[in-house]
């Protein structure tokens, strides 16, 4: 169980039909966190790419393995963690194709890195892969938690 003080944790099956509901949830949580709509869209994209990679590369397209998503926000940073229950993969092997070698595919990791401020792969406590992505809340004067107590 996630530390509830840090936001919300969701477990979905590795089924691509759950990604649209997750994007909707991200929009709502991002609003609670005070994230700008455009920034929320970018988080939606990064999470879609991260989950798609878990489904395809870690779970070989099986649609019934678990994916844990943990959303946290504090101190002007919105954080998403995607945890799988597969084998930990050497992070140096996780990278997109060069942009000028145009072909279908090979762009997911690049997009995540472009839209998020930080993208880190680590081994989680049960030996799977943990993908942590952070986005700083821009323009602190205009943004901020919807209510003080939501900003934890």
């Amino acid at each position: 169980m996630a530390d509830p003080k840090h936001g919300i944790r969701v477990t979905i099956p590795s089924d691509v039909s759950y990604l649209e509901p997750i994007r909707t949830l991200i929009r709502e949580i991002a609003a609670l966190a005070g994230l700008h709509r455009d920034a929320a869209s970018e988080v939606e994209l990064a999470v879609t790419e991260g989950c798609a990679n878990v489904i395809r590369h870690c779970y070989c397209n099986s649609d019934r393995e678990p994916i844990d998503l943990t959303f946290a926000f504090a101190a002007g940073v919105f954080e998403v963690r995607i945890d799988d229950y597969g084998k930990f993969v050497d992070p140096s092997r996780i990278k997109s194709r060069p942009l000028d070698e145009v072909r279908p595919g090979g762009l997911g990791v690049h997009l995540m890195q472009k839209v998020m401020d930080e993208v880190t792969y680590t081994k989680n406590s049960w030996g799977g892969t943990s993908l942590t992505m952070r986005k700083r809340l821009a323009r602190p004067g205009q943004e901020g938690p919807r209510k003080d107590r939501s900003g934890r």
Partner: protein, 111 residues
């Protein structure tokens, strides 16, 4: 469904209009619809993305695949009506330089 796809044969071009989310869940449906046009080797294919609210790398892959097939038989593929958000995703991947992108459908039909 999260995607809507419509195909029309106009005198100037075949137009495929897309609405909704083009992601890893829905892009197989788009690929199927494009296949019909590509198998017919249509000279000029316009993809109207006016209704698209979200695109991910699977959506981009589907469009790149279509572009490469059209180029293989020396046809033309144009995209139009991209929202700022969707265009932004193309730009992140430098694909705005690879695709012919027009602001309006009229412009895409003209060339």
């Amino acid at each position: 469904m999260t995607i809507q796809v419509k195909r029309e044969n106009l005198p100037q071009a075949t137009v495929v209009s897309i609405g909704g989310s083009v992601d890893i869940y829905s892009s197989p449906e788009l690929r199927g619809e494009l296949k019909v046009a590509l198998d017919g080797k249509v000279k000029r294919l316009v993809i109207d993305m006016g209704g698209v609210s979200f695109v991910d790398s699977s959506g981009l892959a589907t469009l790149i695949e279509a572009l490469q097939k059209v180029q293989a038989y020396s046809g033309t593929l144009l995209l139009c009506n991209l929202s700022a958000k969707v265009l932004g995703v193309f730009q992140l991947a430098n694909l705005d330089r690879i695709f012919q992108i027009r602001e309006t459908r009229a412009a895409a039909l003209e060339g």
